[in-house]
C-alpha cells in the first residue's frame, strides 16, 4: 500500500501513514493539538492550516468548502476530519 508522511508542526512529530488515511485518525492518536467537534465536517472546529503539501491532501468537497467559508478559513486551511492524506504534508492547528 502507498505510504505518505504527515508532520504535525505543533508537536514536531511525523507519522508514516497508509495513503487515504484521514488526518483526524492520525492526529488524535498522536495527540496533536488539532481539536474536534462534530467529526463529520459540519462544525469547523477541526480547522487546520496546511503548511506544506497542500496538493497532497484530497480535494475539499463542496460541503467542506462551504463550512470553510462560513468559518472564515484562510488560504490553505482544511478540515482535519475530512482531508485524506495522499502524499507528504505538514499541518498545524488553524
Amino acid at each position: 500500500m502507498a505510504k505518505a508522511k504527515i508532520t504535525f508542526e505543533d508537536i514536531e512529530q511525523t507519522v508514516n501513514v497508509p495513503a487515504g488515511t484521514r488526518v483526524i485518525e492520525v492526529s488524535e492518536k498522536i495527540g496533536a493539538g488539532i481539536i474536534y467537534g462534530c467529526r463529520e465536517g459540519d462544525c469547523g472546529t477541526c480547522m487546520m492550516h496546511v503548511e506544506e503539501g497542500w496538493n497532497n491532501l484530497t480535494e475539499p468537497s463542496v460541503l467542506e468548502e462551504k463550512v470553510l467559508k462560513e468559518n472564515m478559513a484562510s488560504r490553505h486551511d482544511r478540515l482535519a476530519c475530512q482531508a485524506q492524506i495522499i502524499g507528504d504534508c505538514k499541518v498545524k492547528p488553524a
Binding site: Q13, N16, V26, K29, I30, Y36, E70
Partner: protein, 426 residues
C-alpha cells in the same frame, strides 16, 4: 434623570438616547434559562430601534412568544415601511424569535449578520432560497443617513456568530449578550433598577467564562470606543458609567489564582478516588515521578476531600490534569464523573490529560476517563496506567515513570522518534 420609569405599565418604545429606543419585552416569571442558568427574577429580551434621517434600524428581536410586546412597542414609534436595517448581533432563538415575522412585515429591510451566523440563520429559518442578507465584519458600517452603525466581530460571546453594533453618533454599544444578565426590572436602567451585581457576575460565570480569551479579544475592540451607553440583549441598559462594566469584564477574564507559580512553571493536578488505597498509591507514585521534572508543580488531591466549584477554579488555571479512579461495576466512580461533568464553564482546550487506576477484573474506568477528556478537547499524550488490585513495587515504578513522561511532555522535553509508523500507534 427620571426615576418613575415602569415599562411593565405600557407597551411603548422607551427613548434612552436621541432617536434610540428600547422595544424589548419583560419575562419576569422565567426561572430557568437554557437549562444551565437559573434566575431569581426572570429576564428581559432587549431589542432596540435607531432612527436615522434615511431609515430605521432594528437591532436584535425577542423570544418568539414575546413578539406581541415587541411589535407593539415598535409600532408605537415607527411604521414597518421605515425599517431599512435589521442587525442581529446573535441568532439564539431568544433574540431571533420574532425575526421571521419582522421580515414578513418589513420585507424591504436588509438583514445584517456575521459570517458565522449564516449557517445558523438557515437552520433557524429553513428558507434557503428566499433569504437575503449581508454579512459584516469589524469595521463594516451601514448608514441611516445622519446615523452610522459600525459592526464589531466578537465571536463566541456567546455563540460563534456573536457580534456587537456601535452607533457612532450617540456612543451606544448594542452589545448582544456581552454585559448582559438575566435580571428583570421594569425600571430598565442600571441607575434605577435593584442590585443586579450578583446576576451580572453569575451570567458572566456561566455564559462568558468558557470564552475568556474571546472576551479579551472583544475588549480590545470595545475599550477604544467612545462609549456613552451599553445596551445589552438581557437585563438593565447600562447608561450610568458604562465603562465600569467593561473594566469589570476585563477583571473577570483575568486569571485570579497565581499561587506563586512562575511564568515558566507548569501546574499539574493529580485527582484521585480510592476505595482500598490502591489507586491512591498509584497517584502518589505518579506525583513523585512528575515532581522529578524541573518546572512542574504537582498537586495531589483526594476527590473525597473537596467540593466541585473550587476544583473547577483550580482546573481552569492548571496545565495538566490527571484523574485516577478505580473501576467499580465497569465504570469510573461518581465523584470523578461529577467533576468531569462540571467543566463546561471553563476552557480546557489543549490542556494535557491522563488517567490511571487500579481495578479488580476489567478496568474500564481509565479508558472511559480518557475518552471524556478527549471530548473536552484535552490532549491525551499517552495511554493511562492500569494496575490489577494492589500495585507491586514494579508497577509503582511504572507509575513513577508515567508521571515523569507526562511531566516531560508538559515541559516540552519528551524524547520522540523522528518518524512513527501509523501501525505502531495505540
Amino acid at each position: 434623570m427620571s426615576t418613575d420609569i415602569d415599562v411593565s405599565a405600557h407597551r411603548h418604545a422607551v427613548e434612552f438616547a436621541d432617536g434610540v429606543f428600547w422595544v424589548g419585552a419583560l419575562d419576569p416569571t422565567l426561572r430557568n434559562f437554557d437549562i444551565i442558568l437559573t434566575t431569581a427574577n426572570g429576564t428581559t429580551y432587549n431589542s432596540y430601534l435607531v432612527k436615522g434621517s434615511d431609515g430605521v434600524a432594528v437591532i436584535d428581536t425577542v423570544k418568539e412568544n414575546f413578539s406581541d410586546e415587541f411589535f407593539a412597542r415598535l409600532e408605537s414609534e415607527v411604521d414597518y415601511s421605515e425599517i431599512k436595517v435589521i442587525a442581529l448581533n446573535h441568532l439564539e432563538p431568544d433574540h431571533s424569535g420574532a425575526l421571521p415575522e419582522l421580515m414578513r412585515r418589513a420585507p424591504q429591510a436588509r438583514l445584517y449578520i456575521s459570517q458565522r451566523a449564516t449557517s445558523m440563520l438557515k437552520a433557524l429559518l429553513h428558507a434557503d432560497e428566499d433569504l437575503q442578507y449581508t454579512t459584516v465584519n469589524t469595521g463594516d458600517t451601514v448608514s441611516l443617513g445622519d446615523r452610522t452603525l459600525e459592526f464589531l466581530h466578537t465571536p463566541f460571546l456567546h455563540w460563534p456568530d456573536t457580534q456587537c453594533t456601535f452607533l457612532q453618533e450617540e456612543g451606544v454599544l448594542f452589545s448582544g449578550d456581552v454585559f448582559g444578565c438575566h435580571y428583570c426590572d421594569k425600571r430598565l436602567f442600571n441607575d434605577l433598577v435593584g442590585d443586579f451585581r450578583f446576576s451580572f457576575d453569575y451570567y458572566y460565570a456561566h455564559i462568558m467564562r468558557p470564552f475568556k480569551k474571546h472576551v479579551m479579544d472583544a475588549l480590545k475592540l470595545i475599550e477604544p470606543l467612545q462609549l456613552r451607553q451599553v445596551a445589552p440583549t438581557h437585563g438593565p441598559i447600562l447608561r450610568e458609567r458604562p465603562r465600569r462594566y467593561v473594566t469589570h469584564y476585563r477583571e473577570l477574564s483575568t486569571s485570579a489564582l497565581t499561587c506563586g507559580i512562575g511564568d515558566e512553571d507548569q501546574s499539574m493536578i493529580v485527582f484521585y478516588m480510592s476505595s482500598y488505597g490502591n489507586t491512591a498509591r498509584m497517584a502518589e507514585a505518579i506525583s513523585e515521578g512528575a515532581g522529578e521534572i524541573d518546572g512542574v508543580r504537582v498537586s495531589l488531591y483526594d476527590l473525597q476531600g473537596g467540593e466541585t466549584d473550587p476544583f473547577v477554579d483550580l482546573i481552569e488555571e492548571a496545565d495538566a490534569l490527571l484523574f485516577g479512579s478505580p473501576t467499580i461495576n465497569g465504570d469510573a466512580v461518581k465523584p470523578v464523573w461529577d467533576l468531569l461533568s462540571s467543566l463546561a464553564v471553563v476552557n480546557l482546550k489543549g490542556k494535557l490529560g491522563a488517567a490511571f487506576g487500579s481495578y479488580g477484573w476489567s478496568g474500564e474506568a481509565v479508558r472511559m476517563i480518557e475518552d471524556r477528556m478527549r471530548g473536552l478537547k484535552m490532549h491525551i499524550p499517552q495511554q493511562g496506567v492500569r494496575v490489577k488490585l494492589i500495585p507491586t513495587e514494579e508497577e509503582l515504578e511504572e507509575c513513577r515513570s508515567f508521571g515523569r513522561q507526562i511531566a516531560e511532555v508538559l515541559m516540552g522535553k519528551s524524547q520522540k522518534k523522528d518518524v512513527i509508523d501509523f501501525a505502531d500507534l495505540a
